[in-house]
């Protein structure tokens, strides 16, 4: 009896209470995808490559899942991508599978989400994730948390995930009209973000051409000094030498001072979704910081006589300095050395180190989206962001001589996106958007204007959709045309045939070789 009494006293404690049974959530989705692309003639192929060739032969298996209990959920995404194309192979490479059958593993999400964290309505998300801000479609001026993934040109607006802490609180207040047909005030949400480590964006393979083709380099770095440097390179090439570019990327260190911060407040107000944001961190648009040329390894000759070189009495850097020609503010002397006398030859490469970095920025922005019911439900959105930045300077160096040029003065620039969409019929959808400043443009003088337009034509109960999409640069009239035929006649299976056409003058936004060649593609996906 005594034991029973003691047990009765002890049992009401937490130790004895049975744990509430919680059902575990487990939801998954995934797909297997095959992606085949062929380049089209027209724009030049990279050096040494066939003009018409397979540019992608990828096979992907992706799995995305959510698992958790109650207020705590874990999100996990992983993709295994077998790249059918391989680089040049050596004998060692074909003895192991890795080089002749390359693959990548990617993960767009690996985070934990806790709802009602400490306080009701407060949500914490911690881990690898993509946080997309902005009401516009695909091109978001306020979307600065995650950098762009430009590796695949047909996947506009994709982002590279990053590790971050996100805290958001949504107030429980809701005010609507009596008929509940118009929201007067709803979903007031505060969001705070901390990103410990900056992650660069991913560039397409064609971006490397910028560092092998001097004319392309100048297209992307607006610098008179660099323009002269490129002319000098051409003189070197004409004389038999070459510049060998070695670009290095300088990323912000992992120091505490380089943590990126962002905050946003959003709400629905009288039927309009509005938000305002602030970000302090780094732009994902690379800027050239310095160019360093090493002239000590070349040999310059006139006729059969060697003027300077590694085996000559004087190396060329010493010769040029002694001759008073090493003036980085005026490269005419160097150019004349190579072109002034007939029979001048150059042997060897000039190693050129290019240092690139990511500018510090602060961004303030806002966006709004609504539906105009008095215009039959026309969709309307606008998004704008003001980027503040330091001066961007370029240093040209060679053998102790330096000169500096300011590429972009300290200041600010706007990026804007505004658009509308409408369904003319149940089978015809139209979307038009204006952009000021493309994803890779930095600086007030470098923001071009674009019209982005797309249309979906749906047939056979949406089992066949013809998508026509395009981007037009108003300044240089270059454009992207992206037709895509999407079929889903078989269960869980989509088969798409399309093309990405890049047209324009050689020095235009989309006509430049740096954006790669036009291509056709065939993509099949089975979802499970």
């Amino acid at each position: 009896m005594r034991c029973l009494t003691v047990a009765t006293l002890l049992c009401p404690t937490l130790l004895c209470l049975p744990l509430a049974a919680s059902a575990r959530d487990f939801v998954y989705r995934g797909y297997l995808e095959s992606d085949l692309r062929l380049s089209l003639p027209g724009k030049p192929a990279p050096p040494g490559e066939d003009e018409v060739r397979f540019v992608r032969v990828d096979n992907t298996a992706r799995l995305t899942m959510r698992v958790g209990t109650g207020n705590v959920q874990g999100f996990f995404d992983v993709a295994l991508i077998y790249r059918g194309l391989y680089d040049d192979l050596g004998l060692d490479d074909i003895e192991t599978r890795g080089a002749l059958d390359p693959f990548d593993i990617e993960s767009d999400a690996l985070y934990i989400q806790v709802s009602d964290f400490l306080v009701r309505g407060l949500e914490l998300k911690a881990g690898r994730q993509i946080l997309e801000w902005g009401a516009a479609d695909k091109f978001n001026p306020t979307g600065v948390i995650n950098p762009y993934d430009l590796e695949d040109p047909i996947k506009f607006g994709e982002r590279v995930p990053n590790e971050m802490l996100v805290l958001s609180y949504t107030a429980p207040w809701h005010v609507a009209n009596e008929e509940e047909t118009l929201t007067i005030f709803d979903e007031l949400t505060f969001t705070a973000v901390a990103v410990p480590v900056f992650r660069p964006g991913q560039l397409p393979a064609s971006a490397g051409l910028v560092f092998t083709d001097p004319d392309l380099f100048v297209q992307f770095v607006d610098s008179p000094l660099l323009g002269e440097f490129v002319d000098l390179q051409k003189a070197f090439i004409d004389a038999g030498g070459n510049f060998a570019y070695d670009p290095t990327i300088e990323t912000p260190s992992f120091a505490l001072e380089n943590v990126q911060y962002a905050g946003k407040v959003g709400m629905t107000l009288v039927g309009v979704d509005v938000s305002a944001m602030y970000y302090r961190g780094y732009s994902d648009v690379l800027q050239a910081r310095s160019v360093n040329a090493d002239l000590s390894r070349i040999a310059v000759g006139i006729g059969t006589a060697t003027v300077c070189g590694p085996r000559a009495p004087s190396t060329c850097d010493a010769f040029i300095r002694d001759a008073g020609l090493l003036d980085l503010n005026n490269l005419d002397g160097l150019r004349n050395l190579l072109t002034g006398t007939e029979g001048t030859t150059v042997a060897g490469d000039v190693p050129v180190s290019i240092r690139l970095g990511y500018p510090k920025i602060q961004v303030v922005g806002f966006d709004a989206a609504t539906s105009l019911e008095f215009l039959d439900g026309l969709g309307l959105w606008a998004e704008a962001a003001l980027y503040f930045h330091d001066a961007q300077t370029l240093t040209l160096e060679a053998h102790g001589e330096t000169t500096e040029e300011t590429l972009i003065d300290e200041g600010s620039f706007w990026k804007v996106a505004a658009g509308t969409d409408y369904s003319l019929f149940s089978w015809w959808y139209l979307n038009v958007q204006y952009l000021h400043g493309f994803v890779d443009e930095f600086g007030a003088d470098n923001q071009d204007d674009y019209v982005v337009a797309g249309s979906d034509f749906k047939f056979f109960d949406n089992q066949l959709v013809l998508r026509l999409f395009g981007i037009f640069n108003l300044q240089d009239q270059s454009f992207v045309a992206y037709p895509r035929l999407m079929t889903s006649f078989w269960p869980n299976t989509q088969l798409d045939l399309g093309a990405l056409l890049l047209e324009g003058k050689d020095d235009s936004k989309f006509g430049t070789a740096a954006t790669g060649q036009s291509r056709v593609f065939l993509i099949g996906r089975y979802s499970f």
């Binding site: 993509i130 997309e132 105009l372 439900g377 959105w381």
Partner: protein
């Protein structure tokens, strides 16, 4: 001996007795057709919140084209539709709140505001437009006129009220006299042309007096195409909070 044949015949051959009229029918008819419509609305929407899982089958020319499974959460005028099958749309979520529509597409980390024009679009190629899913309560948006009666049904003609944003200017509904539940609806356009018809069968009633039809068929009147929804599961009054019907809920989908 009396000829019992006629009596036997009467007993054996008589038609089954008609279901009795609902006790409220006479009173509602006396009050007017709109009172009847309000009661019919109430019978299928008398819950605080509802979670309804349906299997949707889309037929074209009598042939099954697509199947889908979706779960709809409803509270008042707010609703979330979550697609569970097929696999390529699993995780897609739609939030409809005070006529605003938000969509989260599978694989996208963002919720997008979708404008009102999209209500014209059929859901997944079905015969249901977006707004059709919110047509539980018609009395708020339509005036009613009595158009006739049979032994089994009352027929009402509904006219869209000025200022209402419903897609259909005119409806014809049949309300069963025994249950006071709407089981057949014809949808008309501005020119009076019939666009589609909806037929509801397999009526069930739960312990709280809430009615659900186990099967609902929406048929396109212009072509040989129909969509069949079968209720797989239903839960009512689970205590879904208002904050469940927020964009954050969509972001929890994959």
């Amino acid at each position: 001996m009396k000829n019992l044949l006629p009596t036997l015949c009467l007993l054996l051959c008589a038609a089954p007795a008609a279901a009795a009229d609902d006790p409220l029918l006479a009173e509602l008819l006396a009050k007017g057709p709109e009172a009847l419509l309000v009661e019919a609305d109430k019978r299928i929407s008398n819950f605080q919140d509802q979670e309804l899982t349906v299997e949707m089958s889309i037929f074209s020319g009598g042939k099954l084209e697509q199947k889908a499974k979706l779960t709809t959460f409803t509270k008042g005028s707010a609703r979330i539709v979550r697609f569970d099958e097929p696999a390529d749309v699993r995780g897609m979520g739609i939030l409809i709140k005070a006529r605003a529509i938000y969509v989260k597409i599978p694989g996208s980390p963002k919720v997008r505001r979708v404008a009102g024009h999209s209500r014209k679009q059929g859901m997944m190629g079905s015969d249901y437009a977006f707004d059709d899913t919110s047509m539980l309560a018609l009395a708020e948006d339509y005036t009613a006129e009595l158009a006739g009666q049979t032994d089994a049904d009352v027929k009402l003609v509904l006219t869209r009220k000025p200022g209402s944003e419903m897609n259909y200017p005119k409806l014809e509904v049949l309300i069963s006299k025994s249950d006071l539940v709407r089981h057949h609806t014809r949808f008309f356009d501005d020119d009076g042309k019939e666009l589609k018809t909806e037929t509801r069968t397999e009526l069930r009633k739960n312990e709280k007096g809430h009615y659900t039809h186990g099967t609902v068929v929406m048929k396109d009147s212009q072509r040989d195409h129909h969509t069949e929804n079968k209720v797989v599961a239903e839960k009512v009054d689970q205590g879904l909070e208002d904050r469940f019907f927020q964009q954050k809920t969509l972001l929890k989908n994959l």
